[in-house]
């Protein structure tokens, strides 16, 4: 069993709100000692390795509720390896992946295989979502209990809209039978087709637009079905101010729902498309200033529970096409920390509350979705699992092809200065990533 000691750290634990100077001792897979100030137990701790975290923050590892790894199904070799490596390079220790792989994650065997391969890489923990319907066709239900047993933490329809409300109703009813959480992106099947957000910019550029209606109509439908079935839902990738308002009201009503928004909606707007920059071709599309402002406020007040990277590997040429034909998506695992810190700086939330959006709050969503009893040992508690991110909050780095570990280099944040440089990432007590130099 490895024993590791991290010293001279600034310990930030969003779950408790604590922010202290101190040290952490890790024994095997768990945190053995959390020492705030002088602690006699440290002198008895026989560490095999010591990490000096001078000038760095030690926080719980990041939990990313939306990251595509491209496997199974990618034509590019080694994608699972590279993307899980990118995750820990970004301080992400747990990630949830949607089922829109090729083949779709609708068979227990595929899920078992994926989890097995990921486990053997000893990088970030992988929590797959199972498909809600077979093949994501929106017709027949999947064997949710079997998929749960194989390791699916919830059931999702990724970005594929379910056209048939009867099917959606039945899927929610069935999931509610077992208390499974259904992860849905609110997007109307017919109004939601378009490559940009409907508005003056899309009109000026001649791009087909997705109106806010596509999100609000879908939300209203989902909430009605939730009231009827009692299903628990996690809403994915909220994008509009109107959508945020509906979620706020639904939560106030007491509906069992959580939701997330991506780093793109947090920072960018439609005008950033500029001269048809395909890096901005994203799903959901970038909306307007007031939508971004609403998302930022909602993430601060907890209406939006978690910030996600929405990591979607897009390879070389797939963006070298006219805007509407370019493949949507962007790399994001390594940008989640910086995107959160940038938002935190702007909203002056303080480091602990800022990090909560990418650690304790998504961890709570994940735990509830897994059906795991909410452990009272979490975050930086003694006895909690040692999933940690050590990063220099005062350093920044420039986003470009040479600084990204992911095989996919397309991001709308290219050439941005991202705050927060990860020094090392620990998963289950093991050093899963260490920065060079």
């Amino acid at each position: 069993m490895t024993r590791t000691l991290i010293t001279n750290a600034r310990l930030v634990d969003p779950a408790s709100g604590r922010d202290d100077a101190g040290a952490i001792a890790i024994d095997g897979e768990r945190i053995a000692i959390v020492a705030r100030g002088h602690d006699r137990r440290l002198s008895d701790f026989d560490a095999a390795r010591t990490i000096d975290a001078h000038g760095a923050v030690v926080a719980p590892g990041l939990v990313d509720l939306a990251a595509r790894l491209g496997e199974p199904g990618s034509e590019h070799a080694g994608l699972l390896e590279s993307e899980l490596a990118a995750a820990v390079a970004g301080g992400v220790t747990s990630l949830v992946c949607p089922p829109d792989t090729d083949p779709v994650l609708d068979e227990p065997g595929l899920v078992t295989m994926l989890k097995f391969r990921a486990r053997n890489l000893h990088r970030a923990r992988l929590y797959p979502l199972g498909a809600l319907t077979q093949g994501l066709k929106g017709e027949a239900l999947t064997e949710m209990a079997e998929l749960r047993e194989a390791g699916c933490v919830g059931f999702s329809h990724a970005d594929v809209a379910i056209r048939d409300t009867l099917v959606l109703h039945r899927a929610l009813q069935y999931a509610a039978t077992f208390g499974y959480t259904v992860w849905l992106r609110p997007n109307d099947a017919w109004l939601g087709n378009g490559v940009a957000a409907k508005g003056p910019l899309a009109t000026r550029l001649g791009l087909s637009g997705v109106p806010v209606l596509a999100e609000t109509i879908a939300l209203a439908t989902i909430f009605e079905l939730m009231r009827d079935t009692g299903a628990r839902v996690h809403l994915c990738r909220l994008s509009s101010a109107a959508g945020v308002e509906l979620v706020r009201a639904a939560k106030a009503e007491g509906l069992p729902l959580t939701c997330d928004a991506s780093i793109h909606q947090l920072h960018l707007i439609d005008v950033d498309i500029g001269y048809f920059d395909a890096a901005m071709r994203l799903v959901p599309p970038l909306r307007q200033q007031r939508d971004r402002d609403a998302i930022r406020a909602a993430l601060a007040d907890g209406t939006i529970d978690a910030l996600v990277s929405d990591h979607t590997p897009v390879m070389e040429d797939a963006k070298h096409l006219p805007f509407a034909e370019a493949e949507p998506g962007a790399t994001g695992l390594e940008l989640l920390l910086g995107a959160a810190l940038k938002w935190g700086e702007a909203t002056k939330l303080g480091l602990s509350k800022t990090l909560a959006a990418i650690t304790s709050r998504p961890a709570a969503v994940l735990a509830r979705s897994r059906g795991a009893a909410e452990s009272n040992k979490r975050g930086l508690d003694e006895g909690a699992v040692a999933d940690l991110c050590v990063f220099a909050a005062d350093e920044s780095w420039s986003v470009d092809g040479t600084t990204l570990a992911s095989q996919s280099r397309h991001t709308p944040f290219a050439r941005y200065e991202m705050p927060g440089r990860v020094r090392c990432t620990i998963v289950a007590g093991q050093l899963a990533y260490e920065a060079a130099g």
Binding site: R204, L207, F276, D277, H320
Partner: protein, 320 residues
């Protein structure tokens, strides 16, 4: 992609590509219109050729078919003494799966000097301008719904020819504006040239409210839209609009938003009627109006060749 600098202009603010009218200084537009005037007189000579583009290769890359537009660009290029090669990409290599950029790279290797590009997707010419060799110039012959700058320019030339002063005009653009690249180019040009009243006229399904952010007044009533107008630009109505549930029928469209003699009488007595073509007689415009004495539709075609000669010669003379 291009940072924030307008990709059509070089560091000296000279035009090196024509991708859109948006963002072009008014002096640039006027330079193009003035130069077109010179070429109009060239087109009336016995020898309709000048050597400005001699030895240059102009490739017409039409990813979307249009014999009319392609022909006018071909005539314009040949009158500038350029060698013209026509590529109907819709039927050739990309049908076999060659990527857009590979096609461009192959053509650049054949020493192309200028690409005239028409594509069904908005923004395609920007992608091409970003990836072609530095000395190659790109002219947008129409990209998706976004822009048809040479049409916008020839429409301005036409208005200037008959009305002279842009700053006193009321211009009505009627029809399927939401899907029209011609309408967008006209609107940008009219606002840049200082036209005080620009009206976008049509049913709500074809004329969305957020058009007013482009500087136009949205009218959902034809009579109100054309009343006292100096210029009426009629746009073609495509059949897809009926099948896409935007309109019930061509007949109802003609009754409510078509231009016939009665509606034309609401405009100023010396109002001119324009249309980018091809015309759907009896759908957006009455035959009698097309053939009437207020129609300047045929002169538009003549002006179109001179304007394209002006655009091609101006950009070919500027280095990146």
């Amino acid at each position: 992609m291009f940072g924030r600098r307008n990709p059509q202009l070089n560091a000296n603010d000279e035009l090196i590509h024509l991708l859109s009218i948006e963002g072009l200084p008014v002096a640039t537009l006027q330079h193009i219109l003035d130069t077109a005037g010179t070429f109009l007189s060239v087109n009336e000579r016995d020898v309709k050729k000048v050597p400005l583009l001699r030895g240059k290769s102009v490739f017409n890359l039409f990813f979307e078919n249009s014999t009319r537009t392609r022909t006018t660009f071909e005539i314009a290029a040949k009158r500038l003494s350029a060698d013209v090669i026509n590529l109907d990409i819709a039927r050739s290599s990309t049908a076999k799966g060659e990527s857009l950029l590979d096609t461009i790279a192959n053509l650049s290797a054949m020493h192309a000097d200028m690409f005239v590009v028409r594509h069904s997707e908005s923004g395609a010419p920007y992608l091409i301008a970003q990836h072609c060799a530095p000395h190659v110039h790109v002219v947008n012959a129409g990209d998706g719904r976004h822009s048809h700058p040479t049409q916008g320019l020839l429409d301005m030339y036409t208005i200037r020819h008959y009305k002279h002063d842009f700053t006193q005009l009321t211009v009505a653009i009627v029809g399927d504006i939401v899907h029209s690249r011609v309408a967008r180019s006209d609107i940008h040009a009219l606002t840049t040239l200082g036209v005080p009243e620009i009206r976008a006229v049509g049913p709500k399904t074809l004329v969305p409210g957020d058009l007013k952010e482009m500087g136009v007044r949205v009218c959902h009533d034809m009579a109100e839209g054309v009343r006292d107008a100096d210029v009426i630009v009629m746009l073609r109505l495509q059949n897809e609009r009926m099948s896409g549930a935007m309109l019930p029928s061509a007949g109802e469209y003609f009754k409510t938003f078509g231009l016939d003699g009665a509606k034309l009488a609401l405009a100023k007595p010396d109002a001119i009627v324009m249309h980018p073509g091809p015309i759907n007689r009896g759908v957006e415009i009455d035959s009698a109006v097309v053939d009437g004495n207020q129609s300047v539709i045929l002169p538009q075609v003549t002006f179109g060749i001179a304007v394209r000669m002006a655009v091609m010669s101006i950009i070919a003379g500027n280095s990146p």
